[in-house]
Amino acid sequence: MLKPTEYLTCVYGLPSGHTLPVYEKHAYGYETARRVLTTMTAEQVVAEAKKANIRGRGGAGFPMGIKWSFMRPHPTKPAYLIVNADEGEPGTHKDRTIMERNPHSIVEGCIIGAYAIGAHVGYIYVRDELHLSKARLNEAIAEARAKGYLGPKPFGSSWSIELYVHSGAGAYICGEETSLLNSLEGKRGEPRLKPPFPAQVGAFGCPSTVNNLETMAIVPTAFRLGCEEFSKLSALHNLDDGGVRLYGLNGHVKKPGVHELAVGPTLRELIYDLGGGVLGDRELFAIIPGGSSTPVLRPTDTLSAPDPGSKLHAWHGKCVLDVPLGVDTMRASGTMLGTCCVTVLAQGTDPVMAMLNLMQFYHHESCGQCTPCREGSGWLDRTVQKIFDGRGTMQDIDALHEIAGNVMGNTICAFGDGMAMPALGFVKKFRKELEAYVRGDTKKENARLTVT
């Protein structure tokens, strides 16, 4: 069900909405951080955070409270809070709105998070291109420091907290948490093997927690409402997928945008009620539910949970457009929730051209560390190009399947899977269209990605 909320977005449209006076007047500015730091112990904060059921907003959906609980005080090493704002997943455009329009929610969330995990220093890793975001974050940090909310004794507590913005330099892979850590340390942004996980060996060899930026921004709201109450706002509270989050809409919808909603709207509600429907009132052709790495869906796809004991069984066989969007419901629908930013493709879009566009992206962004990904990304790109150019054979279509299959699970980080899954998705769902290119029934001269 569509339940719009305004916890983060309440200051979005206001004049100077990104400044501290507006945050204090309209968004309970820093009251929650003050209460948490002066009345709760770090252990209490972590225990409470778990009840919020905040599934990480960066795409993997790992529960935030559980991640925080992995942090153990180290006898000699400091701990670090790292915030991932390397927003670069194609089709994802939510974190930027928070940084530009409500940066104080991030700063306040970081104060609570740093306190909970025992960190005195936090780094917000922002991709370099987002200059306005970096400026707004730096402004917010300066305002908070001037008020004493950051620095030696925030709110009169004894826990000092410093927060810094660190800029990336143009590499999609640095959104992967261990690659981000290497980049922060001044190295090439190549992912690390796990274990050790960041909670044991993270930034600068010290225990670290890496959280997505939206995850941190919603923390003050969860603690203000009470974490359990916050979780219950979600239609999927009983699946441990709680609270509210930002939903993005882009591609062929009449009204693209970012909306804050209680977790659990359906794709149909997003596309038709909030998005105003498909451009030109065309038929819905395909949906990429949460960034380009989440496998493409057709409107005829259904959720599969045949086991009557499954919590998802109530939706078994139901059209994917009418299932509440959640981490587990999307997994059971053969895709992933990802970043919750939905890309809509209208009837008339050429799926082979769309696939080529995405394979070019992964080819460009593969960091080159693992052979299956480095070679596979180029191979996929070239093979789809060959088919698109009308030079392909039926064996090439099978080759796409085989190459992607050989990348899956054979790389250090999730990039390989993030490329192979959508490739396999496109081959599976649009095989007929690929074959039409091979037979010469479709020509690239007539291919379009835009519709009117």
Partner: protein, 159 residues
């Protein structure tokens, strides 16, 4: 000639040094300061960064060659990036790119003969709901129409 930071950037660098537990963490921030000043990362710049941070030149070069936004060759005074990834492409990014190429008389990746403008394609710039979009230096231009693209490029050419 050996490279050196302007006094103002030197102060910024000194302030940045206090933020991190290692000098190596300054690799990207210092390279960015240098590029802001010099326009691109020359061999002299890499040697300067290596020396200031007690790193090998090989380490610095490894970092420079990894990240898209470090210019390994001189580029135009202004950078025009057109996002071409799927969500923008669904809203007409290829048309925007062709319009830029035609208006500037260069292909993506090239610089105008007067050295003023370099045109490049970008991968997703997190502006999908306001597509198509382009970035000119540090500024985003979103919800582009052919008229706006013309206007933006005209102003840039006149600047």
């Amino acid at each position: 000639m050996p490279f050196a930071l302007t006094p103002e950037r030197e102060r910024t660098f000194q302030e940045l040094l206090t933020r991190y537990p290692t000098k190596m963490a300054l690799t990207i921030p210092l390279l960015q300061l240098c590029q802001e000043q010099h326009g691109w990362i020359s061999e002299e710049v890499m040697l300067f960064v290596a020396e200031r941070l007690d790193l090998s030149a090989a380490h610095v070069k490894g970092v420079v060659t990894f990240y898209t936004l470090f210019n390994q060759h001189p580029v135009g005074k202004h950078q025009v990036w057109v996002c071409k990834t799927l969500p923008c492409a669904l809203r007409g990014a290829y048309d925007v790119l062709h319009q830029c190429e035609k208006k500037l008389g260069i292909k993506a990746g090239e610089t105008t003969s007067n050295g003023q403008i370099t045109l490049r394609t970008a991968e997703c710039l997190a502006s999908c709901a306001t597509a198509p979009m382009m970035q000119v230096d540090k500024e985003y231009f979103e919800d582009l129409t052919p008229e706006r693209v013309d206007e933006i490029l005209r102003r840039l050419q006149e600047s």
